[in-house]
Symmetry: C2
Subunit: 487 residues, 2 copies
């Protein structure tokens, strides 16, 4: 008899959802985490969850359904993701949001969170609030928690996963669920599996959103653990990177509207207010550096407004404002911002064709005057002319790594698959540690948490149901580490 029916590795949002779902099926569950507190990287997230067909949308009068989300998701990803898995995600995430709400999670609003036709971003107080609700439920459900236990190996018998090993200890389990998060904190895995992120960051270097404090939760343990049993690793070069000027390692997610962004040919190429989900492919498409351009009047008008209230994401050390006069002035001195008296001079300093940049800004200014961005449909209210020298430019790069989407491939039930897409017995996975659920393009704010809660719940439920016997008595006393929390 196993120590536990289900052992879940990783106590972030995906892992806690899996543990709860398994416990709700009447299984004994142990939740193991390498760190000294629960919450994982998820606790630093904005807490936005992308979902369709929920009661929260209906309350706002938003007509939507899972099928519409599915089609949008597949289209934006040009159908380069497995339809079966995405369909499960889209159909499961709505009920999963309601399941969380029934546990006590407050859904504050539903916003547009990307390129979608209807609002699908379910706004919560933040990732930490979701973690709190889940933690409370984990305790109530009688789930054991073992902290500061980094699992070194899976225990495998006859090709079936039957437990985990932590140093010299081992814990037996009928099934194991991997929910160990992304690879943001593991430079070796980043280089191997998402080399494009390294290429995009260039000399500036990839820096994980939230810095080392957050990245320590994202070591990518699921990759070596699952490879031990022949898992298929999928999602090569799939990740979300945000564009930043590199003024600090904690940058704003969105640019102020007064920036005009041009490529190395000196041409605009998008609506600078595009959602970050599509900003990544558009900027990547330029095939070279891109620059944010602004004038002195804009700079002088950009004054600090940071307050605690505006820090939606509570990341340690977060400054939350790049594009303000004191920061810009400072970066003129560091050389990260180039300042010249004329547009042509600015272009020469950036080694882009002066004639192109001059014409680009003439066109932009004419469009501002006419009240219409004829090229990229930026909202006219956001546009202001770039006319009063001196002029400024900062190179902006996709160098802030926010989500990774590479790891063991799962099927629609959260089972980990081998090279021939056959399930590996006794092994499930969910959340950011998996590959194949997210595509090339992040569908919108909340895509990652949608994956965590939908597939966390699916994997926990499937794992529980795969255990072909009744609940065994939990023997937490025998296996919990000295520092474990006790429920």
């Amino acid at each position: 008899m196993s120590d536990y029916d289900v052992v879940v590795l990783g106590a972030g949002i995906a892992g806690m959802c899996a543990a709860i779902a398994a416990a709700e099926e009447g299984r004994s569950v142990l939740l193991v985490d390498a760190e000294d507190s629960i919450g994982g990287r998820s606790q630093f997230s904005t807490g936005m969850i992308m979902a369709a067909g929920t009661r929260f949308q209906r309350e706002k009068g938003v007509e939507d359904d899972a099928e519409s989300l599915f089609r949008h998701y597949m289209t934006l990803n040009q159908w380069k993701v497995d339809a079966g898995v995405v369909k499960a995600l889209c159909y499961e995430v709505g009920p999963a949001v309601e399941w969380l709400a029934d546990m006590g999670l407050q859904i504050k609003d539903v916003y547009f969170s990307g390129d979608e036709n209807v609002p699908r971003g379910h706004v919560t107080v933040g990732g930490d609030a979701i973690v709190k609700v889940l933690h409370s439920r984990v305790r109530n459900a009688g789930i054991d928690i073992a902290l500061r236990r980094r699992v070194d190996q899976l225990v495998v018998e006859d090709g079936r996963v039957t437990g985990v090993r932590v140093g010299d200890d081992s814990i037996s389990a009928s099934v194991v669920v991997l929910a160990t998060g992304g690879i943001e904190g593991n430079p070796r895995l980043i280089e191997k599996y998402i080399p494009m992120a390294v290429e995009l960051a260039g000399t500036r270097g990839v820096y994980p959103n939230g810095g080392a404090e957050v990245a320590k939760y994202s070591q990518g343990d699921a990759i070596p653990l699952s490879q031990q049993v022949g898992a298929q690793i999928t999602g090569f070069n799939r990740f979300l990177a945000n564009i930043t000027p590199g003024f600090s390692t904690e940058s704003d997610t969105y640019f102020p509207a007064w920036l005009v962004v041009v490529n190395s040919e000196g041409r605009r190429f998008y609506d600078e207010m595009s959602p970050y989900s599509v900003t990544q492919p558009i900027v990547y498409e330029q095939g070279g550096p891109v620059y944010a351009i602004f004038d002195d009047e804009a700079k002088r008008a950009a004054q600090p407004r940071t307050t605690e209230k505006q820090r939606k994401v509570r990341i340690p050390g977060q400054t939350w404002e790049d594009w303000i006069e004191p920061v810009i002035d400072e970066n003129v001195h560091t050389g990260k911002v180039i300042k010249r008296d004329t547009i042509a001079g600015l272009a020469r300093a950036l080694d882009i064709p002066p004639d192109n940049l001059v014409k680009t800004l003439q066109k932009y200014n004419a469009d501002v005057a006419a009240g219409e961005d004829t090229q990229f449909l930026k909202k006219p209210d956001y546009m202001r002319p770039v006319t009063s020298g001196p002029f400024y430019a900062a190179e902006v790069r996709l160098s802030r790594l926010s989500v990774t989407a590479v790891g063991p491939k799962v099927d629609r039930d959260g089972r980990v698959l081998d090279g021939g897409n056959a399930p590996i017995r006794g092994l499930f996975a969910a959340g950011e540690c998996t590959g194949g659920v997210l595509g090339d393009v992040y569908v919108g704010s909340g895509n990652a948490l949608a994956n965590c809660i939908a597939f966390g719940r699916v994997a926990g439920r499937s794992a529980a149901r795969s255990v072909g016997r009744s609940r065994v008595v939990a023997m937490a006393g025998e296996i919990a580490a000295p520092h474990s929390e006790r429920p």
Copy 2:
């Protein structure tokens, strides 16, 4: 005074639409073509036109509008196309279809033509039928036609295009509209501007859809002509290629449902019945060869059914059926089809992991039995098991070039733009010869003709309106070539 108000280069569908639209604005128009008959490459097209919000959709009870098409188009292209231009396309194409219908074009039906949510493919009898309707209107509108006149150069005065030169002759014009078609027939331009097509075709070589007979209409003249006045060439690596087994140079556009397609890892990766618009990015994503697999029972059941009626596209020499027993048997002998007694043997012959291919087909067969493709959602009715040896495999490649989308960049009015996105005076362009209207992904059957008719009409109208004076008397007699048609 100019010989003509508007000279249009290229008498395909885009050029004829431009000529008619200009004539409808009261301008004198000359339509010039290098070949000895009108129709260009368009005459060989299927005649499908993608459009939204038309009376033909309404007649079928289809609710749709231009904005929905715009959003779908942008999403499928991950917003990597200029929104202003695409918006014009989406809003203009519906009225343009109705304009053609008012000229006498029969719209037979409205079908799904790609990945869209509602049917948008407006079915006509074929490209030749559209050409016929337009030709008749061209004659009625008093438009002069000069055939067998390949324009060598634009005449430029003070940076403004003021005419064209054919050998030693020149024709003066207030404005010139380029509508010279794609680059399918020009290997030098293919290599330079769409090297990915060359890479995809590999040793098999790129072959233009329809062969040399059709490709001769697609010499890409707009590129050198527009470069002469500093046009921005855009659309690098943008084209539509169809997947084929290379049994002949005239392949079927769709595969039969009984083929199972796997990548070099021996894994399926999509619904084999996907529209060709998304097949291209999905196959490209595999990063290596892909193979169509089938068994002996399927082969024996695949008997010829070609009739004249089924040849929707009337291309000279078209065989229209690849996947039939006699052709397959023939290609077993040529080595294009590999035949082995077992799946594992087939895998070894293809140098793909045998275990993966065996599991892939086990999974597929289990899904057939269960009546559901759990991975890629292929319709169960289309699926049949792959069980009865011997087994067959054919490498399939994106080697048939059907549309190219590289050329002078235009704005939403069809004006040709320079490096700084400023319009070049006196120069417009429309249709397949332009860049920036089509994106990385072909939105669906009818995307190319949508571009031709919408922007043909837009460019003709804009060109006409840019002529700041009243109609001059046409002096066709002075300039028409000896072989010209006379209206």
